[in-house]
C-alpha cells in the first residue's frame, strides 16, 4: 500500500491536480449560481497533525457552516465544504434577501439552502474527479452542521485515527473577487484510497 506518510513530491503534485480539477469545476458551478466571477486558490495537499487541521479554517473553536458528504465507491473518503459564519451569512443575504434576518441566525430554509449549495458544489467537484479518473465515486446525501470547526473536521479524521496522528488533506479554497465570499473544500481520502487514485492516473507505485 502507498504510504501516505511518505509521498514523493511528484505524488503530492498528482493529488494537487486532483484538487485542482475538482475545485475548478466547483468554482465554475458557484460562479454560475451567483452570476459572479469566482477565483480559486492553488490546491494545498498536506499531511497535517490532527491538532492543526482545524487551523485551516480559523481554529478549533471557530464557528463554521459545514456540509459533509461521505464518499463511497472506488475511492472511499470524506468531503467537506466549509464556510466561516460571516461568509455564509453574506451568501444568504445575496441568495435569499427576503428570508434573511440580519441577526446572525439561520432559518430552516437558509440551512437547507446552504446544504443544497454544498451538495451542488461537492457534487460537481466529485463528478469531475470521477470523469477524470474513470473511477466510481458515490457521495452520500449531504448533511449540514453549524458548529465548531474542530468538532466538525475531527469527524472526517476517524479513518486516520488508528493509523497515526495526522491525516492527508486535499484542500482548495475559492473566493469572490472582492473577497466578500470564501469557501473551503476538504477532500480527505481514506488511507487506503491513494493507491487507487494513483493507479487510475497512471502513477507507477514503487
Amino acid at each position: 500500500m502507498a504510504n501516505y506518510n511518505r509521498f514523493e513530491a511528484f505524488e503530492m503534485d498528482v493529488l494537487k491536480e486532483v484538487g485542482n480539477i475538482g475545485a475548478g469545476n466547483a468554482a465554475t458551478a458557484m460562479s454560475t449560481l451567483l452570476n459572479k466571477p469566482i477565483d480559486m486558490s492553488v490546491p494545498s495537499v498536506q499531511l497535517l497533525p490532527f491538532e492543526e487541521v482545524a487551523e485551516r479554517v480559523g481554529g478549533s473553536e471557530q464557528i463554521v457552516i459545514a456540509v459533509f458528504l461521505r464518499v463511497e465507491g472506488d475511492v472511499p473518503g470524506n468531503m467537506f465544504f466549509i464556510m466561516q459564519e460571516h461568509y455564509a451569512l453574506q451568501l444568504m443575504k445575496q441568495l435569499l434577501p427576503k428570508e434573511h434576518l440580519d441577526d446572525g441566525t439561520y432559518s430552516e430554509l437558509e440551512l437547507s439552502t446552504l446544504c443544497e449549495i454544498g451538495n451542488i458544489l461537492a457534487g460537481s467537484y466529485l463528478s469531475s474527479l470521477a470523469d477524470f479518473t474513470q473511477l466510481q465515486l458515490l457521495p452520500s446525501v449531504p448533511s449540514i452542521a453549524h458548529d465548531m470547526a474542530g468538532a466538525i473536521l475531527s469527524y472526517g479524521l476517524m479513518q486516520y485515527g488508528e493509523m497515526g496522528d495526522s491525516a492527508l488533506l486535499i484542500e482548495t479554497s475559492f473566493l469572490e473577487d472582492c473577497k466578500s465570499l470564501e469557501g473551503h473544500f476538504f477532500l480527505i481520502p481514506d488511507p487506503n484510497s491513494f493507491d487507487i487514485i494513483f493507479r487510475a492516473l497512471g502513477v507507477r507505485l514503487g
Binding site: F50, E51, E61, S140, D147, G150, I152, Y155, G161, D165
Partner: protein, 164 residues
C-alpha cells in the same frame, strides 16, 4: 495572586493539573473529554479520547492518549504521581456526540457513543464514580476543568455555557 494557568489538552492528548491550574480542550465532536479529579489533593486530569479501543490500532508505537482503554490508565498513573489517590477520584465527561447522521451509517461512523461506552467501562474497572456527564447529541463542545474545585465548564454553540 497568580492568575489561573490554563493547560491545553490537544486532540488525542492528555494532561494533568494541580495548584488551581485549569485544563482545557476545544472542539470535542465524537471525541470524549474525560476528566478525573481528586477533591482532597486538588489534582485534576483530562484526556481527549478519539477512539474507543487500542485493539484496532495499526500504528506503532501507539499514542496511548488516543484510545479510551489506554488513556484512562495513563491518566490515573500520572495523577498518582502528583499525589492523587484512585479511591478518591471522581470522573466527569463530555462529548461523544454524533456530528452528522447519514442513512445506512456504518458502525465506524457511530464513534461518539462507542467512545462514551468504552470510557464508562474503564471507569468501572477502576471503580471510579462518574459524578456527571454531558454526552451525546449532535453538537460540538469545549470543556474546561478547574483543579481547585473540580468544576467542569462546558461551552457549545447551540446551548451556551453550563457547569457540571
Amino acid at each position: 495572586m497568580i492568575s489561573e494557568l490554563l493547560i491545553k489538552v490537544g486532540m488525542a492528548d492528555l494532561n494533568t493539573a494541580a495548584n488551581g491550574e485549569h485544563l482545557k480542550t476545544t472542539g470535542l465532536g465524537s471525541c470524549v473529554g474525560l476528566t478525573l479529579f481528586d477533591p482532597t489533593k486538588h489534582v485534576a486530569g483530562m484526556a481527549h479520547v478519539m477512539l474507543p479501543s487500542s485493539s484496532i490500532a495499526r500504528e506503532a508505537p501507539i499514542n496511548v492518549a488516543k484510545y479510551a482503554d489506554t488513556a484512562i490508565p495513563e491518566l490515573i498513573e500520572r495523577m498518582l504521581a502528583l499525589g492523587a489517590n484512585v479511591s478518591r477520584l471522581q470522573a466527569k465527561m463530555a462529548g461523544g456526540s454524533q456530528m452528522f447522521t447519514l442513512p445506512g451509517q456504518t458502525d465506524s461512523l457511530r464513534i461518539g457513543p462507542r467512545n462514551v461506552e468504552s470510557c464508562l467501562m474503564m471507569l468501572e474497572q477502576y471503580s471510579i464514580p462518574l459524578i456527571s456527564q454531558d454526552t451525546g447529541g449532535n453538537f460540538g463542545r469545549t470543556i474546561e476543568l478547574s483543579s481547585k474545585s473540580g468544576t467542569l465548564t462546558i461551552r457549545s454553540v447551540q446551548h451556551g455555557i453550563k457547569e457540571i
